[in-house]
């Protein structure tokens, strides 16, 4: 099925990071392509949300919501400064 893009998860990312993230730049860990989160190909209709590199389709980000708490795995996407330290660890999702 057709993927959407990072715009579709802007709200969820705001919850996790505490700020607007669709313009954040990162590098795909699989192929080295650099791009913004808004351009990632996003698959929403799954047990979690999977973002993939537009160039190589490697998994860049995975968001899951477990018992109401949103978590993000960024192992496939190296964020550039100022986001290079990842999401704040103690952030509570906005209710």
């Amino acid at each position: 099925m057709d993927a959407l893009d990072g715009n579709a998860i802007a709200g969820e990312l705001f919850e996790v990071f505490g700020e607007e993230m669709t313009t954040a730049v990162g590098t795909c860990a699989h192929c080295g392509a650099t791009g913004v989160i808004a351009e990632q190909r996003v698959y929403l209709r799954a047990p979690g949300t999977v973002a993939r590199c537009p160039r190589c389709t490697g998994v860049t980000m995975v968001l899951v919501s477990i018992r109401g708490s949103a978590r993000i795995d960024l192992a496939g996407f190296k964020l550039a400064p100022p986001h290079d330290h990842g999401p704040p660890v103690d952030r509570q999702p906005a209710s």
Partner: protein, 250 residues
């Protein structure tokens, strides 16, 4: 309303439905008065959340149709027959109801009058919604930036904001609007026919040498095709911003 900074927190709030405006056969604009709206930029969206009495929830995103300078927040929703949320918003929702939403959301697919043009806007179906916000912002601020809008719809009855778009074009201040119908068209149709391709884009869009700031919005396949065609004919991909619409619920 002053131009809004991006919010520091993204909280759910209730918005009272003020009015419903039928835009096309299956498409309605919902005029809202949110409890605490911080303002927005053209191109941003809101998340809408519906909750049933037993706690069941469904959530969808909708582009903001109103300009940042408008009095009310407006969403334009196309009813999908097999949808879960859109048949409620277009069909059940009525003035006086409260709609839960959060926003504004998005910092990528936005335009404000401080960004240089010329602008190339390419819309497929309900992808026209964020462009209405951008055009209203352009008018409200007196921005003279040159705009070429290409709007693709299945049939004439599916075209949203037809009169308003004609007014923008008729104002004579630099907005050019082209329509293409892909599935059926009236016999006396003077607009374009068929899906957007390289030939149509060559005719309608700014040449690559003009370095337009390009926004493409619509279904994924539409966006991929239009974007690819532009890049193939020499447009700079870094000057192209895209937003894909599609089913988001399970």
């Amino acid at each position: 309303m002053a131009r809004a900074a991006l919010p520091r927190r993204l909280n759910w709030q209730l918005a009272r439905v003020v009015e419903l405006v039928e835009e096309a056969a299956q498409t309605t604009s919902i005029v809202l008065a949110p409890a605490d709206w911080p303002g927005h930029e053209a191109g941003q969206h809101v998340d809408v959340r519906l909750t049933a009495e037993d706690g069941y929830e469904a959530q969808r995103s909708y582009s903001i149709a109103s300009g940042p300078e408008d009095d009310h927040l407006v969403l334009t929703v196309e009813r999908l027959d097999d949808g879960e949320v859109s048949p409620y918003l277009v069909g059940e929702l009525r003035p006086g109801d409260e709609l839960e939403l959060r926003g504004p959301i998005g910092g990528y697919f936005v335009w404000n009058q401080s960004l240089a043009g010329p602008l190339l806007l390419i819309a497929g179906g309900s992808g026209i919604v964020p462009f209405r916000s951008m055009l209203r912002h352009r008018s409200a601020t007196g921005s003279g930036v040159a705009v070429r809008l290409l709007y693709s719809s299945r049939a004439l009855g599916d075209v949203i904001y037809r009169d308003e778009l004609a007014e923008f074009a008729a104002a004579g201040d630099g907005v050019d609007v082209s329509f293409t119908l892909t599935r059926e068209w009236p016999e006396d149709w003077t607009g374009y026919r068929g899906r957007i391709d390289g030939k149509l884009l060559d005719e309608v869009s700014w040449p690559a040498a003009e370095m337009p700031l390009t926004y493409i919005c619509g279904p994924s396949g539409f966006v991929e095709s239009a974007s690819g065609t532009l890049v193939d004919s020499g447009h700079d991909p870094r000057r192209i911003r895209t937003e894909r619409f599609g089913p988001t619920g399970t």
